[in-house]
């Protein structure tokens, strides 16, 4: 089957917010925290309160992660090189609303320490490198991503509908963290950041491939390199920061979309970051048309990952047919003979489909060649510092080699980050 002969059976998401089912377990995931090595502040079996610190970054003790629910730490698994794999918390049935905190937030230093102490720091990601920023770093600008990265993702204007005041308070808090501008990147329409002063600026990105990604916004508005750094943050985190600043309540809820061909009713659901996906989708999946098993992705089908937990930065849960069952479908003899079975990388054929798949004004084939041989210097000269893994997801699919260029990019970025 040729790439453009595929029918997308995914139905559009109904953009109304429903309360999701209660989830029994939530997890803090190492996959969301590249390059972070945890120093645990709780042990297995400990009781933790909502908002209590569970671990901090070994390199920056001020960067803490907090528990989004009250409950008991069920398991802590570590990954390679003392990174975290997952910290699972079983939530208590009786969740009581916490008392509002009193937070000093008038000066930049106070705002910074309040966000650090409340575990909001991991909401920010730096460009270059796509990591959690150092506690004392000052970005040249902050990019608030208020765009949906695909047609099935939650519509930010719907999600922010009744939280606009909180969102505005959050934007004002952002101005205390940077000396430059706060870019509010939106799809065309009414400016939701209008009239908030000269430093909060609405930027508009027409719908199109990759126009929903922070890297694309940054590439067009404020390109970065080794000496210039900006931060990006998602709109739901800005609204949560706004709520903390305005009311003193730390809101861990997150609105995600159920999507994919196997979703019974594609719609928006209010749940918690890190929620257990089997709990969340218990009554949401359709049976497979050929009896194929279900495959649950956190994030979109193109850029997400197969997971049992909702990722920190994901706004979508994709319910898909399990790929391994595709092999059982009737397949023509010719296609079976033509199908690549090798576990090695196939050649890179420099088609113009690669240019179409990358949203950056960068020569893509030389970049992919540099990444695939691990040539960090050339990749840096070509502008790989502006990207993170998700920006190369489309390219990886368009390329004949079958390589995961996102993973290659992370490898090169880690090498460059160590030198920087």
């Amino acid at each position: 089957m040729l790439p453009w002969f595929r029918i997308d059976r995914t139905r559009l998401t109904e953009q109304t917010i429903h309360d999701g089912p209660s989830v029994e377990r939530i997890a803090l995931l190492g996959a969301d925290l590249p390059g972070l090595r945890p120093k645990l502040r709780c042990g297995q079996g400990d009781r933790v309160e909502r908002g209590q610190v569970v671990f901090h970054d070994r390199a920056h003790p001020d960067v803490v992660l907090v528990s989004p629910v009250s409950g008991v730490v069920e398991s802590i698994t570590l990954g390679p090189r003392r990174s975290l794999s997952a910290l699972v918390i079983r939530s208590e049935n009786a969740q009581h609303d916490p008392d509002p905190l009193v937070i000093a937030k008038s000066t930049p230093a106070e705002m910074r320490s309040a966000l650090l102490a409340q575990g909001f720091w991991p909401a920010f990601l730096t460009r270059p490198f796509g990591r959690i920023p150092a506690p004392d770093a000052v970005p040249e600008a902050i990019f608030v991503t208020v765009t949906a990265d695909n047609p099935y993702a939650p519509d930010p204007r719907v999600v922010l509908g009744d939280q606009l005041e909180m969102f505005t308070a959050g934007l004002k808090a952002m101005t205390l963290l940077t000396s430059g501008k706060v870019h509010v990147c939106q799809s065309p329409g009414a400016d939701i950041a209008a009239g908030l002063g000269a430093r909060i600026r609405g930027s508009f990105f027409p719908a199109g491939r990759s126009s929903g990604f922070a890297s694309t916004h940054i590439h067009h508005s404020h390109p970065v390199d080794a000496s210039r750094s900006v931060w990006s943050i998602g709109y739901q985190d800005v609204a949560a920061i706004g709520k903390l600043v305005a009311t003193g309540v730390h809101d861990f809820s997150r609105i995600v979309a159920f999507t994919g061909p196997r979703a019974k009713q594609p719609r928006l659901i209010r749940t918690v970051a890190g929620a257990s996906l089997p709990d969340l989708i218990r009554h949401e999946a359709l049976p497979g048309s050929h009896g194929s098993p279900l495959c649950v992705f956190s994030g979109s089908a193109a850029r997400g990952r197969e997971s049992s937990w909702l990722g920190r930065y994901h706004q979508q849960v994709s319910l898909l047919d399990d790929a391994s069952s595709h092999g059982k479908l009737p397949e023509s003899v010719v296609m079976a003979r033509l199908r690549r079975t090798s576990s090695q990388l196939a050649p890179l054929i420099p088609t113009t489909a690669l240019e179409r798949a990358l949203a950056f004004d960068i020569p893509v084939v030389p970049l992919l060649r540099a990444l695939s041989v691990g040539d960090a210097e050339t990749a840096k000269r070509l502008g790989c510092l502006e990207m993170v893994e998700e920006d190369l997801a489309e390219v990886s699919l368009a390329c004949t080699s079958g390589a995961d260029y996102g993973r290659m990019l992370r490898h090169v970025l880690d090498e460059l980050a160590e030198d920087a």
Binding site: M1, L320, A353, S372, S396
Partner: protein
């Protein structure tokens, strides 16, 4: 490098290009021109096609067995292009020699399609003209050009042929044709170069791989075709396209290198 493969769950959720699909698209695109050639030239041309096909696949099978890979069928496209370019008057053993040289030294010794530096079909056709005195490749005509069109659209849509290469080469050829014979000669020029432009000059592996580089590459190929052309009048010899493709391919990495240097310099200037 191993361990860098894309998650199979993700690749199956959204179809992308694979080498097999590239081969399939090229075979589909070649079906029209090959059919027209066979209908026009009759049974002797079927012998040419079979000789080229069998030779190419034997070589590919040999290399795949040595390297322990599954058969990729890529060399079938080389055979089909050769079957269109080579007339039936050429002895079959010469065709087998040319096809062998084309697939082995154009593609297989480098590791297969996608790793070589020239188009395998161009290498084979060039070998035929150079080695056997008096051999001429068959001239293209209107029917072949028309049969090329649907395949060309398919390849353009899939990104397997670049607009930049085709347009810049066509502009150079049209300008030269106009200078020689005026507007009346342009249809002849178009008919004689269409197949070669799409399947030899347009080969994505042998050409430049940056956007800017593709325009320069196409223009260079156009200029070389005009220089090498030996046929009087507006028609263009197929051998000229073959040699222009070979020579331009050799310059493609240099063109890309300069294009990348220019892009990087522009980036520096823009970002300070």
């Amino acid at each position: 490098m191993t361990g860098w493969l894309l998650d199979p769950q993700r690749t199956r959720q959204r179809t992308g290009w694979t080498p097999a699909r590239v081969t399939l698209a090229q075979l589909v695109a070649l079906a029209g021109p090959v059919a027209v050639t066979l209908v026009e030239r009759g049974t002797p041309q079927i012998a040419v096609l079979m000789t080229a096909l069998v030779t190419c696949l034997i070589w590919e099978l040999t290399f795949d067995l040595i390297r322990g890979r599954s058969l990729s069928w890529h060399t079938a496209t080389v055979a089909l292009i050769l079957a269109v370019l080579v007339p039936a008057s050429v002895p079959l053993w010469q065709i087998a020699m040319a096809a062998s040289f084309g697939v082995v030294f154009g593609e297989l010794v480098f590791g297969g399609r996608g790793y070589g530096i020239v188009s395998g079909a161009a290498a084979g056709a060039g070998f035929l003209v150079f080695s056997f005195i008096g051999t001429t490749l068959s001239l293209s005509n209107e029917a072949l050009a028309l049969a090329t069109l649907p395949g060309a659209l398919l390849l353009l849509r899939g990104g397997l042929v670049s607009w930049g290469v085709l347009v810049s080469a066509a502009v150079v050829l049209a300008a030269s044709g106009f200078a020689q014979t005026g507007a009346g000669g342009l249809p002849t020029v178009a008919a004689s170069v269409a197949f070669g432009l799409v399947f030899l000059i347009g080969d994505p592996v042998a050409g430049a791989s940056t956007n800017l580089g593709r325009w320069v590459f196409g223009a260079l190929a156009g200029v070389l075709i005009v220089l090498f052309d030996t046929v009087a009048g507006p028609a263009i010899a197929t051998a000229a396209i073959v040699f222009a493709s070979l020579l331009a391919s050799i310059f493609a990495p240099l063109i890309d290198h300069m294009a990348v240097a220019m892009v990087i310099r522009l980036r520096r200037r823009r970002h300070g």
